[in-house]
């Protein structure tokens, strides 16, 4: 992992805000905001998000073991993909 959990948290938050296409601002997305439920994150955005996370981590992700629950909110994304940095 090449980035701290707190840096990853903010980077992912900004990435989702910029990708969501519904005008959401990063500061409106809290750590526990339900991303999938509010459609801030759709399945069609996941490939781009995973590529972004891979770049932050510096290692590839095995996506076949991932389910929608891994993307529930920012807290869950950080704990799923950046736990080594916490």
């Amino acid at each position: 992992v090449t980035i701290s959990a707190s840096e990853a948290r903010e980077a992912v938050r900004i990435f989702i805000a910029e990708s969501s296409g519904d005008g959401a601002r990063a500061e409106e997305i809290g750590d526990r905001t339900p991303l999938v439920e509010r459609r801030l994150l759709t399945s069609l955005m996941v490939a781009d998000l995973l590529l972004f996370i891979e770049e932050l981590r510096g290692v590839p992700i095995e996506a076949s073991s991932l389910g929608p629950g891994c993307f529930k909110d920012i807290d869950t994304i950080v704990s799923t993909f950046f736990e080594e940095a916490t």
């Binding site: 996941v46 490939a47 996506a63 991932l66 389910g67 993307f71």
Partner: protein, 290 residues
Amino acid sequence: METATVIEALNAASARQRRCVLPWPAAGEVAPESTWWTSPELVSLVGTPAWQACDLAARRRLSFYEAAAFFSMNVHNERRLIAGARERRARTADPAVAAYLDHFAREEDEHSAMFGEFCQRYAGRLYPDRSVAFASDVAAAAGEEDFVFFARVLLFEEIVDAFNVAMARDVRLPEIVRAIHRCHHRDEARHLVFGREMVQRLWTAHAPAWPAATRRALGAHLRAFVAATGRELCSADAYRDAGLAEPRALRALAAASPAAAARLNLAVARSAAFFAELGLPLAAAGEVSS
């Protein structure tokens, strides 16, 4: 022609179809820089400064890894199509549709084996699948899930078929690559007819009861699906394997380029017209990739 008659004709055509026999060269005979593996006009970086910066060897190398990425993308999407087809096969009450879904799943399975063989033999691997399905992407109106499934199948197959048709006849490509594209197109031509029939049938049965908001959401979802498929055609894995720096940035650059939008819009033009005729425009002014 009535829908049932069309599908019965497709069943008969699939039953007559023989498996492709492909001229696989030995792995040692395949050198990425020796020739084109993707038609150069269809390489994702065309139209960007990054393409201008590549010499001929680098362009050909990228065309090789993009071929592997394109075939990998097909394998992953076909796995989802097969699962969806089998699920619907289990619950359809229409024997002609059931029979065709059997043909469809079998043919997609054969395509996946063919695409996978190329990737494993010559690129040494299948590129990873980074998709994760969310149940909440579509609402729960009656018929909506089936409509979205067949609409996405139709759009995906139309896009890849445009690439198949162009590369099947491109004499600059090795015979094995042309044969794979030719073989895929042969079956996809039937799948596209089936897809239009199913989408039309589901639309006629359910759309009159869908509120305007549902129709708008469906149009937006299908538009986003086309755009996501366009981004899938720009493979960061292929850029990395081709030795290009900053593959994710290159992917963003390629996906946002006017040339990529033009390729995608051309590939999906027939489906966009079909959906517009149904009353579900995918985009205004022919732009589906934004």
